[in-house]
């Protein structure tokens, strides 16, 4: 009888807790997922962060929408999400502008609209932009290349996708470091975040016979490295950056006995989407952002710092090696800010 009373008491205590959990409907909108390991991880991290929100009494249900780089599909999907009454729209947009009417409609409906990863640059709407500090990725890589190669060294600059906001910020960072370090860019190309294209472009640059000391590349570094193997061209004196398991594993294999090719690993975490979700959940919980948190106040943009930096100096670093060994080739280094971390750092 005592046992039965105890069970009833436990159930009675649990019922209010369950009843108090707030249901939150999240719609994550992406330009692309399939075929893009970064985006796959981005979505997986959002799901994990959504599940973790239960600790804060939030029962977050999640739905994912992919427009496959089609702005019309993106608008239609966002419109559907507004009609279906989602609480938070987390959007990695196809383009940096063009969604103003949809955003206004979502905000009129009381939906929290957060732009994640690639910045939305229209100043006519008042939304929160959460992205990784892309400028830093370019600047840090260029600076380290300058330290390794020395002033006057010749470099190849291989950018990602022309016109993409993240690429533009990175290239600004690269340009600043190139200027500061006195590097000379002797060849350029764009790989569009396409591995096969990165190999093709790097092969073409090698074939052009241009002499260079290092390669500054905005990810896809392992694919560019394959061009050196295929053409038989000796490895450059520096290559970076990238953030995948394959790149880290290859750098360990290449530099294990002695440093053959200095390199750079920088984190550009797919978890930025999960961090952005936790900004949304804090707003939902009624918290207010601090006044001085914006890196670009005109568009309410917050740049989350890249936390992990590894170079050839870390070849014996146990943390670097353990991370490299635990990752699948296509995986990118990931992490995100929890609800509490976001609250402590960015909210009043």
């Amino acid at each position: 009888m005592k046992k039965m009373c105890f069970i009833i008491l436990i159930i009675a205590l649990c019922i209010p807790t369950v009843a108090m959990a707030e249901d939150v409907r999240l719609a994550s909108h992406n330009a692309v997922i399939e075929g893009n390991p970064y985006r796959v991880r981005y979505e997986a991290d959002i799901q994990e962060a959504a599940a973790a929100a239960a600790d804060h009494g939030l029962n977050v249900s999640y739905a994912s929408f992919v427009s496959n780089w089609d702005p019309a599909t993106e608008s239609q999907q966002l419109q559907n999400s507004i009609n279906e009454g989602y609480d938070i729209l987390l959007v990695n947009p196809v383009s940096t502008t063009g969604l103003d009417p949809i955003i206004e409609k979502a905000q009129d409906a009381g939906i929290i609209y957060i732009n994640a990863d690639c910045e939305y640059t229209s100043e006519d709407v008042d939304i929160l932009n959460i992205s990784t500090d892309q400028y830093y990725l370019g600047y840090k890589t260029g600076t380290y290349a300058g330290e390794v190669l020395g002033s006057g060294a010749k470099v190849v600059m291989m950018a990602a996708l022309e016109g993409n906001a993240a690429n533009t910020a990175r290239q600004n960072g690269f340009a600043k470091a190139i200027e500061e370090q006195g590097l000379e860019v002797v060849a350029t190309g764009n790989h569009d975040w396409d591995a096969a294209l990165a190999t093709e472009i790097m092969t073409g640059i090698i074939n052009s016979g241009v002499e260079f000391d290092g390669v500054l590349i905005s990810q896809c570094a392992e694919a560019a490295l394959a061009a050196f193997d295929a053409t038989g061209k000796p490895y450059p004196k520096f290559m970076g950056f990238n953030d995948t398991g394959e790149w880290m594993q290859k750098m360990i294999a290449l530099n294990d006995d002695e440093i053959v090719m200095p390199f750079m690993v920088l984190s550009n975490p797919p978890g930025v989407g999960a961090s952005a979700l936790n900004f949304g959940l804090n707003i939902l919980l009624g918290k207010e952002l601090k006044d001085d948190v914006y890196n670009v106040p005109e568009i309410n943009s917050i740049w989350l710092p890249s936390k992990l930096v590894f170079t050839d100096q870390d070849i014996d670093n146990p943390e670097f090696r353990a991370m490299a060994e635990s990752m699948a080739p296509g995986d990118a280094i990931t992490y995100w800010l929890t609800i509490d971390e976001v609250a402590a750092e960015y909210f009043k």
Binding site: E34, P37, N190, D192, G204, I205, S208, D229, G232
Partner: protein, 329 residues
């Protein structure tokens, strides 16, 4: 005077057109040589052994991918699954090899069988169900891509084995890529299939006039389905070689080959209407594509400008090449 000049100009253009029509392969090689000459004139350092090696290697890879496309096009079909099957073949290769030597035969069998299965599906949907080849193969291409995404969580595992990588990227006599050794197998098979086998003759007949071929006792459905199976099998094998070249695989890695192989085949003189074309032409078309890409990169053009230049050159070539009268049905 003006009229005379105009007539002379037309005659010259007609002569050029006639020359192209007569031997698209020869014309593609001439244009490729000219383009390489222009590249070297503008960037003298572009004339080097490494460049020639790379051009041969990339031409071989594209010509392998174009082999099946050529056969399908001659039979009057079209195969947009080339890129997706190549990517899937590469993913299977790195997953089975997992960076270890000794799994070549197992990998080969799995890649060829799975690719042939996709080809069979293409063939059945196109021929037996009667759906348009372009739509069906694009749809199946999407299905294959989604499958690779689902099965790998978007992040394929493993690497090509060291011995396999070496068999693709080593140099013979210092400049001939060892990938050419695979060509010694693939080229004779394709040439035999197209020009010396009973199937090859049937492929041309079916592409030329489906009704006449059927009335002559040819099982046209079987022939068409077989072309799709052959195309997918060759695409899968090319994807396997591509994995050796890239050393690892990613979902949709070789998607661009669907378009590139089609362009190479058309530039090589194979008619979209079917019944006309040669594999020699497709190889020459592949060479032209690779040399053009190499030129645009050597000139350090930005990617958007490269794409525009590539588009303009391709459209110009296709206008010149595709002026052949339709084949009588």
């Amino acid at each position: 005077m003006v009229q005379t000049h105009s007539v002379k100009k037309m005659t010259f253009l007609q002569k050029v057109n006639g020359f192209i029509q007569k031997s698209p392969a020869r014309m593609a090689i001439i244009i490729a040589t000219l383009l390489y000459g222009i590249t070297v004139a503008m960037v003298p350092t572009a004339l080097n052994l490494s460049a020639i090696t790379s051009i041969i290697m990339l031409t071989l890879l594209l010509s392998f991918a174009s082999a099946g496309q050529t056969i399908v096009l001659i039979a009057g079909g079209m195969d947009f699954t080339v890129g997706a099957v190549m990517s899937a073949g590469a993913i299977i290769t790195t997953a089975i090899m997992n960076g270890q030597d000794g799994n070549f035969v197992k990998t080969l069998v799995v890649v060829l069988l799975s690719s042939a299965g996709i080809g069979l599906l293409n063939g059945i949907c196109t021929v037996k169900i009667g759906l348009p080849a372009m739509i069906v193969t694009m749809a199946i291409s999407n299905v294959v891509n989604r499958l690779t995404y689902v099965l790998t969580d978007g992040s394929p595992l493993g690497y090509a084995s060291p011995a396999f990588i070496k068999s693709v990227t080593s140099k013979i006599l210092g400049f001939v890529p060892s990938l050419a050794l695979y060509g010694l197998v693939i080229f004779p098979i394709v040439f035999y299939l197209l020009y010396f086998s009973r199937l090859g003759k049937q492929v041309y007949l079916v592409g030329n006039n489906d009704n006449a071929a059927r009335l002559n006792g040819i099982n046209t459905s079987k022939v068409k389905i077989l072309t799709y199976v052959i195309s997918a099998t060759l695409s899968g094998f090319t994807g396997m070689l591509g994995a050796g070249y890239m050393q690892s695989a990613k979902c949709q890695m070789f998607d661009g080959y669907a378009f590139n192989s089609l362009i190479a085949v058309i530039v090589g003189g194979t008619a979209l209407s079917g019944g006309v074309g040669t594999y020699t032409g497709s190889i020459a078309g592949a060479l032209l594509m690779v040399v053009l890409t190499n030129m645009l990169t050597a000139l350090s053009l930005s990617q958007p400008v490269r794409n525009i230049a590539m588009g303009i050159v391709m459209i110009s070539l296709l206008i010149l090449y595709n002026r052949e009268k339709s084949v009588r049905q």
